[in-house]
Amino acid sequence: MKKDDIENIYSELEAFSKAPPEELWDNIEARLHPKKKKRRVFFIWGSAAAILVMCLGYVFTNSLEHSGKPAIEVSDIEQPKSENIIEGLEERDNKVVNGVKVINEDTLVEGEKVIKESLNHLANQKQSIDRSKSLNTNENQKDVVNNNKKLEQKEERKKDIYGKKGSYENEASDANRYAQTVLKENVTDKQENNANIKEVSGFIRKNKSVTNSSEEKLVASIDSIAKVKDDSLLDLSEELVAENKNDSIITTKVAGLKWSVEVLGGLANTASESSIQNTSVNTTSQNNFVYTLKVGYALSDRLVVKSGIGKNVLGQEINNIIYTGADTSLSVGDSQNIVNNQNILFLVSEESINDVSSFVEFTNEGTLQQQFDYIQVPLEFSYNVLRAQKFDISLGVGGNVNFLTNNRAYLDDEEIGESVGANAKIFGATMNSNISYSLAKKTILFFEPSYNYFEKPIDNDNQAFKNTQLRVLLGLRYKF
């Protein structure tokens, strides 16, 4: 064949074309339009889980909030300096009486301020309610909810005022009369709101009828769409085949994911076994909100090692503990204080109670709460024992190191200082189970109940206790 002939053959091939196999378009289309539905589902579930975790956190954190009022300073009471203990005690009793008077006067002045603030607040609320009345009827629904909230706040204020009324009766009589007037106005407002609620109920009934008719129309249009879809059943099945192919590719990729990151939070119920001055004490368990961020690495198909950082709260609540205002320089048997407040001495053992009763005429009984906040660093191994299509169950064991960040003690809900002898670093052990649900290919919602043990948050000559903790956590895991 001549050279020119070959060149001609080449030029014929220049316009060479050939129809590609049909499946190539399916692959291209699947890559151009990846499924978005599951992302939406993930977004909805993820948001729901995040909101749930935040709500739990808020509820449990809020339930533990203390009044924040300063502790009543017993330090105002001067301690006896006389060598004669009996004389000293008499002198001190007189000063105690004087000291209490001074405290009462200060408290009354403070109470007067509180009432004035309450009244100002109520007056402001009244003005805002008046403004809300002037809004148009479309906003009535919102106003009803807001006004009801305001009324609830007013009711709470009212309770506060009545609670304090007994103590501040003389000073606050004028203020109370004004408060009663405002309360009467509140009742009137409430009646108006009830009328608004009736109006809103009417709207809701109308909306329901509209919704029902919309539903009927929707069902009719779905039927018509289904009919059209029947005609193109072949196309649909082809699309599904393409999707399944992609799924298998993605599943293979997911199976190869080694790393995971998870955020979890929830309730921790902490119980304690405690002794003070070598005597067991009666304690109540406490609830706290805890949270953790963990990173996991899959050592094998079923075994995962995890570590991370989180917040942990331990402590105890001791009921009916006897205490007295005392000079700790006085020798009270072997008793040292368990809280770093020099003016309160806790008495638990019979020996210490007898010793103190020989020179102190009065003692009090209260509830002592000791709370310790930690940064927790866990190390856990989790083994997958059951694997279904969407659900997984794993069992885990591990340990953790807890670094003390905050140490507080409360007597009858008033902060009195820090617990003495708290360990800056404690170790714990954990056993957990993890029930997972796959929201998307890489995103998993899980529920993790666990049992934890912590060794000696406090260890000194006077007090020792051990904590056990039952956790119920909810979390999200992302694999990558």
């Binding site: 316009a15 074309s17 291209i28």
Partner: protein, 184 residues
């Protein structure tokens, strides 16, 4: 430009599934032909074809409605094929490779009365070593000059000339052998 093609392109810019399907139907035979010419076998051609079409749909918004759209699309496919071959060469560190693999196109050849069928010629081109095939395709089918090929493939213009000459020589030998077999 054809008004219908303009509308089709606009639909693709808006990521419209039906528009994409229509454009694919319109262009895919010619573009698939390019992939078959540049790549060693059907599997490689399929991969390049899919990847290049994804690039085409992703970049279609960049087309300014200046010049031939088919030419614009063709350049994407040629570039993608060259890129894949370049990566392959780098990976294997092989400048020249023998092509013992049979092309799948061979299976589809029907024994016709044509002296040298397109499919047969395509098979011979596919059996060329990668660097021969690249230079041959760019020079013969795309109309590149040796200087342009040298710039594109980052080789010397002399090397391009040499590779083209060898490619043509190999093809000529194969075609002559084939014809001689038929005559005998």
């Amino acid at each position: 430009m054809d008004k219908e093609l303009r509308i089709l392109i606009q639909k693709c810019v808006e990521n419209d599934r039906e528009g994409q399907r229509e454009l694919y139907t319109l262009l895919s035979p010619a573009l698939y032909g390019i992939c078959l010419k540049y790549m060693k076998n059907k599997t490689e051609a399929d991969d390049v074809f899919q990847d290049a079409f994804i690039i085409l749909f992703q970049k279609i918004g960049q087309y300014k409605f200046e010049g031939s759209f088919e030419g614009w699309a063709k350049r994407i496919f040629v570039n993608e094929a060259l890129e894949v071959l370049r990566k392959k060469q780098r990976r294997l560190h092989v400048a020249m490779e023998s092509s013992n693999l049979n092309s799948c196109i061979e299976d589809e050849i029907s024994e016709s009365d044509l002296v040298v069928s397109h499919s047969r010629l395509l098979m011979h081109i596919q059996q060329l070593p990668d660097n021969y095939r690249m230079v041959f395709n760019l020079y013969v089918f795309e109309g590149y000059s040796h200087k342009a090929i040298a710039d594109r493939l980052k080789i010397a213009a002399g090397t391009s000339k040499s590779l083209l000459s060898r490619a043509k020589s190999v093809l000529r030998t194969k075609i002559n052998e084939e014809l001689n077999e038929k005559v005998s």
